[in-house]
Subunit: 270 residues, 2 copies
């Protein structure tokens, strides 16, 4: 059996003392560096593989500090504080002696509590009725996901006519090839929502995610139950101003349970 | 002229090398520790007062790792990476030799760019037509803010009858006494949205913010223009499950510009 490219891209070699060695993977390459979601996944995986880690991911913030070049890097995960209900982590990715990514993460014990979903699950047509975005010949990481757009533009569409495109997207989403969902892949999936300005203005331009925060609302049982089936995903942005913009996304199981929410602030040039 | 209590509560004494000494303030006390927004403001202020800081805040994530007791603490702000468009910061608050709060922050150069507000500003009745929530005799920090609820419950209302309360709030909001808005006060205002489960279930119960991320979309000119007038604020949550919940908030100027968005994951007991 061949490894899934995601597992290859997030492979970490433990060097001891919470330090892990990894390397960028061509299958998750973006324009001028690795896909940010792959980096987010690697930062979370270092926490998950740390021998002191207890519980499952609750929150992760990833700060993209500098460009990551092709090749090796080291990730150090440090348990900063260990409490009764949560563990707090600081994580740094270093390449060529420079910090290129920082992250904080919170893990928490799995437990059953009162539950309530105040947000309504989005309505989607069956995935089979929605055509898949053609990703051949695009940036490699696009091909590592299956995008079936229910609403919203893709950056490959012709520019919006006589105005601005919508910042909102609604799509069926999963890894490509399909892969059973886990927290590490969910951390990457949470960053598959293109920087919204590309959809609104309809042109490729210099953009970057600055900081990304993902909250994991599902327990590991819910992720296992979702398996490798397509998820429902929605994303939108609120404002673009002074070179920065926000955006938020929700990832839902196909039976309407909110698995994760993700928020980011993005940079754009002009 | 007497100092505003917020300025007293966020006073920091520089000890050199990016380390600052502060102390908890009774005016911003919560149930069993300082109001989280005051802590968020202090973490940001350490960055703002760091001699190497350039530009204005773009993003801040604060992780509430452990209880903060009454008294002194030290905050260390470290510039992790200095880029052309952003500076990345790591911040730690230490009390009695233990890390009690961690944060990351991003600052960025002030610049004028293309701007677009894809989210619609919320409609509010004039603040004068909305009564102020009575905060006398409640936790001290409540009294440091003026809340005029347009929609949604307060935790002081009788429990919701025969069901669950709404997680959504819409309110006029500002410091009390009124104080001109700046980034540090905005960081605190972004955490004035009560942990939503208290509104939904209608009972005080053990809850805490675990991780809070705020994105600052306004430049300093926009904050100065807003001054000490009331802001429009909306907040809501999506799901409560396995002892954790998300919530998101937006802070708007009174002429309908989005100043900041804030997201958090909260912990609840059962």
């Amino acid at each position: 059996m061949t490894a899934h490219p995601f597992d290859e891209a997030t492979a970490l070699e433990p060097l001891g003392d919470g330090v892990f060695r990894g390397r960028t993977h061509p299958a998750y390459w973006n324009m001028a560096g690795p896909f940010g979601g792959a980096t987010a996944a690697l930062m979370l995986k270092a926490v998950m593989e740390h021998p002191a880690r207890r519980g499952r991911p609750v929150a992760q913030t990833v700060n993209f500090c500098a460009a990551i070049g092709e090749g090796e890097f080291e990730i150090r995960a440090v348990p900063v504080r260990d409490g009764k209900s949560t563990q707090h982590w600081s994580v740094e990715m270093v390449q060529n002696g420079q910090v290129v990514t920082t992250a904080t993460a919170v893990t928490g014990a799995e437990r059953d509590t009162w539950a309530h979903q105040s947000a309504a699950a989005p309505n989607f047509p069956p995935a089979g009725e929605v055509s898949e975005v053609e990703t051949a010949g695009r940036m490699p990481w696009f091909g590592r996901y299956e995008f079936r757009m229910v609403e919203g533009r893709t950056p490959f569409d012709p520019p919006p006519q006589g105005g601005l495109g919508s910042a909102a997207s609604k799509l069926w989403l999963r890894d490509s090839p399909a892969r059973p969902l886990d927290y590490v892949s969910l951390a990457a999936l949470a960053d598959t929502f293109l920087v919204r300005i590309l959809l609104v203005r309809g042109a490729f331009a210099p953009v970057a995610t600055v900081s990304l925060s993902t909250y994991f609302l599902a327990d590991s049982q819910a992720l296992a139950a979702q398996g490798d089936r397509r998820m429902l995903a929605v994303a939108d942005a609120r404002a673009f101003r002074h070179g920065f913009a926000d955006q938020s996304a929700e990832l839902w199981s196909d039976d309407g349970a909110l698995l994760a929410v993700s928020h980011q602030v993005t940079w754009f040039k002009e």
